[in-house]
């Protein structure tokens, strides 16, 4: 298996630059997810790796080879498209065999490969069917089968699950993960769905406006977002954010937000920043109902309770900003109506510079 290495990759359409110099190293067998909102350049980046878009500047290497000017067919990569792109006039077996036939693979070998792949993907009984006669999930599996049969060095996935319903998406997500474990092929996966990114990725690359905002493991991004964009993009519900001013106290730094004081004990990097305008970020999952020694307390007025079953979302506000807490219900929500303060451990509170949006004084 080969790694994929992007050095200063730029994409321009005429005078408009849409990808502004991306540096990324994807190690062999790694599963990397490019995630970001629509128009952030993630699909363009993937298509440049595939060879479907020309690279305006920078160097793309797959393994040791520079691929900038190599045709898609010679890159040894296979791609799963968002809309499947199955040939409607061919049946499942013929769809999967298409690439092998073009490459003049011996018939017997094609038959064996198709049979084996169909077995892995649970498509054996559908081999004679046309795409029109398959469900969305089956079509997606055929699309993956078409990629797998070629035994490529790199798999590219372009939002492959976005056309499936929620239940099927969860199921296919697990299948893709299983498949990656089994085959160990270097994979680059594009999605705008942060849940997909979190569940599938070894490492996530968060992109916005044609730039990489942060690269890290799912937990790194969740716990230590590099900036407010990543903080709001990763996690569901997103991280609560509100403006505050830092103050110093004997016990350590304090954030002052519209009359609410939040202790930031232990965040020593913030000491001496009194008067600095910041954005405070608190994950809904990190909010506690009961105070513990040293926790920061936020007095609240409850606006709304959303019940999810085992968990509930408490909607409130800090200043004018909405504040959501995700708490466990233990099977009933009666006690939640009386909540008038929420608590958070100081080290869980993230602080971002108001001007730049970049994280300050992260605690691992």
């Amino acid at each position: 298996m080969s790694g994929v290495f992007l050095e200063g990759i730029v994409k321009r359409y005429g005078a408009v630059e849409v990808v502004h110099g991306i540096d990324l190293e994807i190690q062999p067998q790694e599963f990397v997810v490019l995630v970001g909102p629509s128009g952030c350049g993630k699909s363009t980046t993937l298509r440049m790796i595939a060879g479907l878009e020309e690279i305006s500047d920078g160097t793309l290497r797959i393994g040791e080879r520079v691929m900038n000017r190599v045709a898609p067919k010679d890159r040894d990569v296979a791609m799963v498209f968002q809309n499947y792109a199955l040939y409607p006039h061919l049946n499942v077996a013929e769809n999967m065999a298409f690439g092998l036939r073009i490459r003049k693979t011996p018939k017997a070998e094609i038959a064996t490969t198709i049979e084996e792949t169909a077995r892995i993907l649970g498509l054996t009984e559908y081999l004679e069917r046309r795409p029109a006669d398959l469900s969305g999930g089956q079509r997606q599996r055929v699309a993956m089968g078409r990629a797998i049969v070629r035994h490529p060095d790199v798999f590219l996935f372009d939002e492959p699950l976005s056309n499936l319903d929620a239940k099927l998406r969860t199921q296919m997500r697990a299948e893709i993960k299983r498949l990656h474990k089994r085959l160990g092929v270097t994979s680059v996966y594009v999605t705008h769905d942060q849940v997909e990114a979190m569940t599938l990725a070894d490492r996530i690359v968060v992109m916005a406006d044609g730039r990489i905002e942060q690269i890290g493991t799912p937990m790194e991004l969740f716990n230590n977002p590099a900036n407010v964009f990543v903080a709001s993009f990763i996690g569901s519900p997103p991280m609560n954010q509100f403006e505050a001013t830092l103050e110093d106290s004997d016990a350590g730094p304090i954030a002052h937000a519209n009359g609410t004081l939040i202790q930031l004990h232990g965040q020593e990097a913030l000491r001496g920043s009194a008067g600095r305008d910041v954005i405070i970020g608190i994950r809904p999952e990190h909010v506690m109902l009961n105070a513990e020694p040293g926790t920061a307390s936020i007095p609240i007025e409850l606006d709304l309770i959303e019940t999810l079953g085992s968990e509930a979302l408490l909607h409130t506000h800090v200043g004018r900003e909405t504040f959501v807490a995700k708490v466990e219900t233990h099977g009933e929500i009666g006690h939640l109506h009386g909540v008038n303060a929420l608590h958070v451990k100081p080290e869980r509170v993230k602080v971002f510079d108001k001007e730049t949006g970049q994280a300050i004084g992260q605690v691992a």
Binding site: A50, G51, L52, A71, P72, K73, V77, A78, M79, F81, Q82, N83, Y84, A85, L86, Y87, P88, H89, F98, G99, I102, R103, R130, P131, A132, D133, L134, G136, R139, R146, R150, N163
Partner: protein
Amino acid sequence: MMKSNLYSRGDKIFALAVSVLIGMFTVATLYPFIYIAAVSFSSGFAATAGKVVLTPIDATIEAYKYVLLDPQFWVSYRNTFIYTIGGTVMSLLFIIPGAYALSRPQLYGRRTWNLFIAFTMWFNAGLIPFFLNMRDLGLLDSMFGIILAFAVNAFNIILLRNFFEAIPQSFEEAARMDGANDFQVLWKVFVPLSKPAIATITLFCIVSRWNGFFWAMVLLQSEEKIPLQVFLRHTIATLSDDQEFTATLMDAAYSAETVTAAIIVCSIIPVLIVYPFIQKYFEKGILLGGVKE
């Protein structure tokens, strides 16, 4: 009653008007065919006297005997087949790759090329320059000349180009990732996906070749090369000029009218046979299922 409530008075009048118009159109299309068939089976006298309206008068097959026993009829019939099949194949050989190239965004100067093609729809060289061109190319009185000269039709190219453009880009990209070159993308993906459009164009080509008259008359001199339509013209001229034949008209089992009608009926039959086979390709939704829109 429920159903009638769903439609307003205006809707009903509209539906009625549409039905009447369609009925009139059907009659206008069908009647000439029925009339020609009736004339071809009528006696020469009845046809010339204008007695035939809907059914044959003094039914006879003399006109067909006259036509089918003329060896030149079979020669021109064969020629028409050659021009039709050869011409259609030649047209498709030019039109399909041409339309594909013009439909690709990566074609250098695509807009200009498209303009050049469309230009020929509005303006062409005209009769004399075209004739001189054919003469200088040594294609006068040449069967190959007839097949080649009308192979490219801008309208058909644009029709197919538009169809190709509507095929989702991802099919081409998937094929390229699978290792297909331009020719393979066209032949293994675009052509099978475009069967309805190609069938339509094939039918256009077949019909226009089958009915081709004017240029065949202008460009061909040898009797053994003329197509059916030119033969028809010759027959009408011959019978009309045949004074002796005209003199015996009262007794004639056939006349210029019945023979003409018989040739027309004979010339229509192959198109009637071919059409249902092509029609099955006019199926909708061939793209369904391959991509999720």
